[in-house]
């Protein structure tokens, strides 16, 4: 994988004070307002991305987290060179992305789970072949890479079937194969598993992990599925309302925003009454789940441990989805 000299010693991706504002049209309801808008359209400035800076090392796998409309995709598109920043700079593999140099475009791929770049009416194999021509890939190298990828994704029998006849999961695998054929060193994935079932999701996770290990590729992923994030990325960047709210380990996010712990108590028979005095309590059959502030866990445990009929006890972090939702909420309230 050729790496330009500029990035050899530094980071694969560097973003410095990236900002992007958009002017969006405002239209009031009603016909009269529409007609008035013909003469004088009202616009509003939206700050999609505000002063975002980060660095990502070669071979790192990083997740962008954030609610819808937070600026994740805009940031990703700036790194891909599709959107020009209003201010700020970025370097990807030593290139300025929005200059869209050919040598840069040969070294990265953008995959969008909601869009499709394969020829709909043709088998994926034909789209792959076209890809070979566009990227001027040497035949032997192309055949070898394609063979490896088809085997990795387990789609040997599907490449000759028209894309429109494939299931969503199969199609996504083909999209990923197409985007990996030129062995990109940087892979930008925008919700690659959206709408997929658990089996397809985990296959794609496995394949991405393996690609990352084999080729040392740098991967940025945006996903609303925490399973993807947990399976692939140890580092997360959280963007809320266009600004970077958190940059660090996934576990750190749990420490910082996961203020509660889940204490699970299993009893031999019915759950004894009065557990709700410790805090929020949910009872399902012989199991009680206490949702407690971290500071109260030790005290509560010592109080419940000798309860008659208690057969099992565990302390867990709350589901990542809940922590992230809480983090989004707290980010949104910050200026």
């Amino acid at each position: 994988m050729p790496v330009p000299s500029a990035s050899r010693s530094g980071f694969a991706i560097e973003a410095s004070h990236l900002c992007r504002t958009y002017r969006v049209g405002q239209k009031k309801a009603g016909l009269l307002a529409s007609l008035r808008g013909l003469w004088k359209g009202e616009t509003r400035t939206v700050e999609a991305v505000r002063d975002v800076s980060f660095q990502i090392g070669h071979g790192e796998m990083v997740a962008f987290l954030g609610p819808n409309g937070a600026g994740k995709t805009t940031t990703l598109k700036m790194l891909a060179g599709l959107v020009y920043p209003t201010s700020g700079t970025a370097r990807v593999l030593g290139y300025t992305p929005w200059e869209r140099e050919d040598s840069f475009r040969r070294q990265f791929s953008l995959v969008m789970g909601q869009k499709n770049q394969l020829w709909w009416d043709l088998p994926a194999a034909d789209s792959f072949e076209l890809h070979r021509e566009i990227y001027s890939l040497d035949r032997a190298r192309f055949d070898r890479t394609l063979g490896e990828l088809v085997e990795l994704f387990g789609v040997e029998k599907l490449t000759r079937q028209p894309v429109r006849e494939l299931s969503l999961g199969e199609r996504m695998k083909m999209e990923l194969i197409a985007s990996l054929l030129h062995e990109p060193g940087v892979l930008l994935l925008d919700e690659p598993t959206i709408g997929l079932d658990v089996v397809a999701q985990s296959t794609i996770q496995r394949c991405l992990r393996e690609y990352n290990q084999r080729k040392g590729a740098t991967i940025i992923l945006t996903s609303h599925y925490m399973r993807d994030v947990e399976a692939l990325c140890s580092r997360v960047l959280m963007i809320v309302q266009g600004a970077l709210q958190y940059d660090g380990q996934l576990s750190g996010l749990l420490d910082r925003f996961g203020r509660k712990k889940l204490v699970r108590l299993q009893f031999e028979g019915a759950v004894p009454v009065g557990l709700d005095r410790f805090g929020e309590c949910k009872i399902t059959g012989p199991v009680a789940e206490l949702n407690l502030e971290k500071s109260r866990v030790a005290q509560t445990l010592s109080a419940v441990v000798d309860m008659p009929g208690l057969v099992d006890l565990s302390v867990q972090d709350p589901p990542l989805e809940d922590v992230v939702a809480m983090a989004f909420g707290s980010g949104a309230t910050q200026p």
Partner: protein
């Protein structure tokens, strides 16, 4: 956005031709998946041409010339129009019409990320083979016209014809590309087809029909400002009527200028592309 420029230099023409061949091959594969549609379109073209021929034959039964064009010269003109429009439709029309859809859905993203000249990729990505028979029909009509005229085809005429034809294709393509590029700013540009229809209607008849005093302004505008009247008239005149160096020179010049202008507009448009959100 210099990516496209250095792509053009580094890749060399050979690889662009190979890619064009690949687009042609895969488009044909796709077309063959819908054979019924293909045959229906070919049939419609043949019927439409039949009606046109019948109409002009009826006119020429009552007069020997229309504005100086005799029947076989006119047949050659008609063939030239057919071949040229067929070529534009086969290569560019579908791609330019779909451009607006790519902008609206944000799928244009994928095309801008490929290490290749974006204009080339977007202009040629689908070859519409169902309109290709028009090129053959046009060629046959031109051949028949020339045969009946029984005049020798000199090298000068042939050269003039080919150069003017290439310029005509350049003008029509450039106009389409400029129209398509406006989709970036307008997002929905359904007027594109109507404007193309106007342009191709102007191409359809010899420019001599605008000699009447009331039509001179139209002739001047569509000869010097938006040279639609030159696209078919000049190559046909070069072959079967008088080869006028001045108008031939202007046609070549206009074709070249329009190509440059359309590339400028296209690049400007791509530079303003905002990309639809996901």
């Amino acid at each position: 956005m210099e990516g496209g420029k250095d792509a053009g230099i580094r890749r060399g023409l050979g690889s662009y031709f190979r890619l064009l061949g690949a687009f042609g091959r895969f488009s044909l594969n796709r077309e063959m998946a819908f054979r019924g549609n293909f045959l229906m379109k070919v049939l419609l073209e043949v019927v439409w041409l039949g009606i046109l021929l019948l109409f002009f034959h009826t006119i020429f039964r009552n007069t020997s010339r229309i504005e100086g064009w005799n029947e076989y010269q006119y047949l050659f003109f008609l063939g030239c129009y057919y071949a040229l429009e067929g070529l534009i439709e086969t290569l560019f029309l579908e791609n330019c019409v779909e451009f607006g859809e790519l902008v609206r859905t944000g799928n244009l993203d994928f095309f801008l990320l490929k290490p290749i000249d974006e204009q080339f990729l977007l202009s040629f990505r689908h070859i519409d083979w169902s309109t290709a028979p028009k090129i053959l029909i046009g060629g046959a009509l031109m051949g028949f016209g020339l045969w009946e005229l029984a005049e020798p085809v000199t090298l000068a005429r042939l050269g003039g014809f080919l150069v003017a034809l290439a310029s005509g294709i350049a003008m029509a393509y450039s106009f389409l590309l400029m129209l398509a590029s406006t989709a970036i700013w307008m997002v929905r540009n359904q007027s594109l087809m109507e404007l193309w229809w106007l342009f191709s209607s102007l191409m359809r008849y010899p420019r001599d029909i605008y000699e009447e005093p009331w039509a001179v302004l139209i002739q001047k505008v569509f000869t010097f400002l938006l040279p639609a009247l030159l696209v078919v008239s000049v190559p046909a005149e070069a072959m079967v009527r008088i080869l006028e160096p001045a108008i031939l020179g202007w046609t070549i010049c206009a074709g070249f200028m329009m190509l440059l202008a359309s590339r400028w507009v296209f690049r400007k448009a791509i530079r303003s592309y905002r990309s639809a959100s996901s």
